[in-house]
């Protein structure tokens, strides 16, 4: 389980301090689907960065499976992200000189035969099995984002963070991406945290938190 206790994230801008995240407490139980929704600048992405260990909170504590991030070394935190978390961002961030399959395997800890099998299965699942040898520039935007989802799932993470994964996609493709994440959660029992400004994408979520001015409502 991922747990945040009264975490805040402050930004100093000149003499004033802005609170991107203001005293937020939150729990992400195993196998849950959490949605974070709110307008631009409400602090939902910042909260996701804190929850995923990409940023250190100004105050408060975050822990995963009983281990507090603040007590982990930088290397241990990296390993945690690398092995236990999966990430889907608004942009696909595929590497142009790698094939679809190789891009998927970038998410794997090692390209073992098992990982390759999983990658191919995931590509099959996202409807891109036959494009495994293609390069990202040969795919549509929606296809690229589906590869990004496959890359986030290939190492079978316990917790998946998706930051505006559908923002650059049309409604139908966006729904497909969210459905992929939801299906994976069901099958693997992993947790999913989706940050979005589109409530339609959180229809299947267990809980949806609304954020405004850095606070959860």
């Amino acid at each position: 389980m991922l747990e945040a206790r009264a975490v805040s994230l402050d930004y100093a801008t000149g003499d004033t301090v802005a609170h991107a995240v203001d005293t937020v407490s939150l729990q992400v139980p195993p196998g849950s689907f959490l949605g974070l929704i709110g307008p631009s600048g409400s602090g939902k992405s910042s909260l996701m960065y804190l929850l995923s260990g990409l940023k250190q909170p100004s105050r408060g504590a975050i822990g995963f499976e009983g281990r507090e991030f603040a007590r982990l070394s930088a290397g241990a935190l990296m390993r945690l992200r690398r092995t236990r978390f999966g990430f889907v961002f608004q942009q696909h961030f595929l590497i142009n000189y790698l094939t679809v399959l190789e891009n998927t395997l970038v998410g794997a800890v090692q390209p073992t035969p098992d990982a390759v099998r999983r990658a191919l299965a995931l590509l099959d699942r996202v409807g891109l099995r036959d494009r495994a040898a293609a390069r990202p520039y040969q795919l549509s935007i929606g296809q690229r984002q589906r590869v990004a989802v496959a890359r986030a799932l290939v190492h079978q993470p316990s917790l998946i963070f998706a930051d505006e994964p559908t923002a650059a996609l049309d409604q139908a493709t966006g729904q497909q991406v969210i459905a992929l994440l939801a299906d994976y959660r069901r099958e693997m029992g992993s947790s999913v945290v989706v940050v979005t400004h589109d409530p339609d994408m959180l229809v299947g979520a267990d809980r949806v938190f609304h954020m405004r001015d850095g606070r959860l409502n």
Partner: protein
């Protein structure tokens, strides 16, 4: 399966970006390899050309080193012919004698009134006397000069006969007989030391008398001017004869005198030096020798290759000393204008057996006349030998050095050098040995070496900047890749390591390619140009190649990695993730 972030994927999938960088670096390395090797070749060729000094010490008279290429004998003779006719002219019926008679015939009464007339009579008498003495000098001097010149002419005729004999072997007997008679005659008329001494005296006397005549004639002109100034006209007194310009003639005589002194003076000392050197501790052998030079191209400029004038035993000793051997033809005969040279020198001069070298063939050769190549030598050291006997019995008035070669035993060079230096101290000799010659070569090459090092530094700096800039541009294009990898858990050190390996691979590939291409170009150049011209090039001088080319990939790598690594250390993955472009 290969890791998707493996180096092989990176290199194979980014060929279009990597190959130009490798190409630029490789070409620069080719340039460095070629210029470096040519410079090293210039040095090595120079060392090899003068390598004979590594095992011997040459003791040479200082004076002969200062001799001019001009032949003072021929110059003196041509001036003498002019002076003879001019001196005859002032002794003609209207000349000095008539003037003296006219001055002497002036009545005593008149002379008492004009005292300057007495001086005029004395001066006219002196001029008459110097004129007569100079006429007396010129006849034997002419004879001596002509005799020596005849020797030289006969020498040329002998060479021509030898050539004829070689070309017409069918008619051997009469020619051989003629040649033998000619040689006997030639040896009989060779100027002995006494003849040379006589010539030396005649030259000094003639020069002094020419000066006396010139001064007397000048005084006659002054007397005539004084008479005119006194206002007394002496109608019966003719004008004094105009004096010939004896300045150039005296200059030629003085040059001839210096030459005679130069090759006369040190000979006795040389004999003493030879006998002393032979008995010195650590000396393998010492030989009297008459050395000369051939002009050869050393890549970094022309140089005079030393030919050792030795007797047959000395030639063999020299070959044994260096481990050289005759691979074609034979060693020169004692009484022939023949030369044997190392094959590299033969190539450099584009000659082989039967070819000719010498001042007649190339005016930059100090080897006089034309010598026929009769032997080609091969071995670790480039040497050339000419016969001592022939050299010392011919070309007395050509540029010619006589000296001494002293070969120290291995490991005793320093000790022998010190002893020889002590022996020649204060005498008109100087020592030429390996430290001296090497110093000269090094100072010649040093400037080129400095320029070369500066160019390498410049190339390294420019390449570091250019390739570093390209690396940075390439890195910026890949910011999304590094941002993603950092976000999903790849450590910065791992990312820096990855970029380092990528960069190292590119620079090492460029270095290896540049080195390979450079060595290939050098090997081709060596075969097609260097070897045929007798120039030395070590195509695979790995130490030099590594020393001068490795700084380029290292600097390029360090500069590129420094800037990219710094950016990676400061990389904030969130700033990349949040970009909405």
């Amino acid at each position: 399966m290969v890791h998707p972030l493996s180096l092989s994927h990176f290199y194979l999938r980014n060929k279009r970006k990597i190959i130009p960088v490798i190409g630029i670096l490789a070409l620069a390395i080719v340039g460095v390899v070629v210029t470096d090797s040519l410079l090293a070749s210039a040095r090595e060729t120079a060392y090899a050309t003068f390598g004979s000094y590594q095992k011997l010490i040459l003791v040479a008279p200082r004076a002969t080193r200062e001799q001019d290429l001009a032949n003072p004998l021929a110059q003196s003779l041509s001036r003498l012919q002019d002076v003879q006719s001019q001196v005859q002219a002032i002794s003609a019926p209207q000349g000095l004698d008539a003037y003296y008679a006219a001055v002497a015939a002036i009545p005593v009464r008149l002379r008492a009134q004009v005292p300057v007339m007495d001086r005029a009579e004395q001066d006219a008498a002196a001029a008459q006397d110097f004129g007569a003495r100079l006429r007396g000098d010129l006849a034997p001097l002419d004879q001596l000069l002509r005799r020596v010149q005849r020797v030289q002419t006969e020498e040329a005729a002998l060479t021509a006969l030898e050539v004829q004999l070689t070309r017409n072997p069918q008619d051997l007997a009469p020619l051989v007989t003629y040649l033998q008679q000619h040689r006997t005659w030639l040896q009989s008329v060779l100027p002995a030391a006494a003849d040379l001494g006589q010539l030396q005296q005649a030259v000094v006397g003639t020069s002094a008398d020419a000066l006396g005549l010139q001064q007397s004639l000048a005084r006659l002109s002054a007397d005539a001017a004084a008479l005119a100034a006194a206002g007394r006209s002496v109608p019966s007194l003719p004008p004094p004869p105009a004096g010939p310009d004896l300045g150039p003639f005296r200059a030629s005589l003085d040059a001839l005198g210096r030459t005679l002194n130069a090759f006369q003076a040190p000979q006795a000392d040389l004999d003493r030096l030879l006998s002393t050197s032979t008995g010195l501790r650590g000396v393998a052998f010492a030989q009297r020798e008459a050395f000369s030079n051939l002009d050869i191209n050393l890549l970094a400029g022309n140089a005079q290759f030393d030919l050792y004038g030795l007797n047959p035993a000395g030639m063999q000793q020299l070959l044994n000393l260096y481990g050289d051997r005759v691979v074609a033809g034979r060693l020169p005969q004692p009484n022939a204008s023949e030369v044997a040279i190392s094959q590299e020198i033969a190539r450099a001069r584009n000659v082989w057996i039967g070819g000719q070298v010498g001042n007649k063939i190339d005016e930059l050769d100090s080897l006089p006349d034309a010598f026929t190549v009769v032997g080609i030598l091969q071995g670790p050291t480039r040497i050339g030998v000419v016969p001592y006997q022939y050299m010392t019995q011919h070309y007395l008035f050509e540029r010619r050095y006589e000296g001494l070669v002293v070969a120290p035993r291995a490991g005793q060079e320093g000790q022998v050098h010190a002893q020889i230096a002590a022996l020649v101290s204060g005498k008109p000799f100087r020592i030429f040995d390996w430290p001296y010659i090497k110093g000269k070569i090094d100072s010649l090459i040093q400037n080129l070496d400095t320029i070369n090092r500066f160019l390498i530094l410049l190339v390294t700096i420019v390449l570091s900047l250019v390739v570093g800039l390209l690396n940075n541009l390439f890195f910026r294009q890949r910011m999304n890749e590094f941002g993603l990898l950092a976000a999903i858990g790849y450590s910065r050190l791992r990312l820096i390591g990855r970029v380092a390996w990528e960069s190292l691979g590119v620079t090492l590939a460029a270095w290896a390619l540049g080195l390979g291409l450079g060595v290939g170009v050098l090997a081709w150049f060596n075969e097609t140009f260097m070897v045929p011209h007798g120039l030395l090039m070590n195509v695979f001088n790995w130490r030099l190649l590594l020393e001068h080319t490795l700084p380029i990939p290292i600097m390029v790598f360090l500069f590129g990695m420094g800037t990219v690594g710094w950016q990676l250390l400061r990389l904030d993955p969130i700033s990349i993730i949040e970009r909405r472009d």
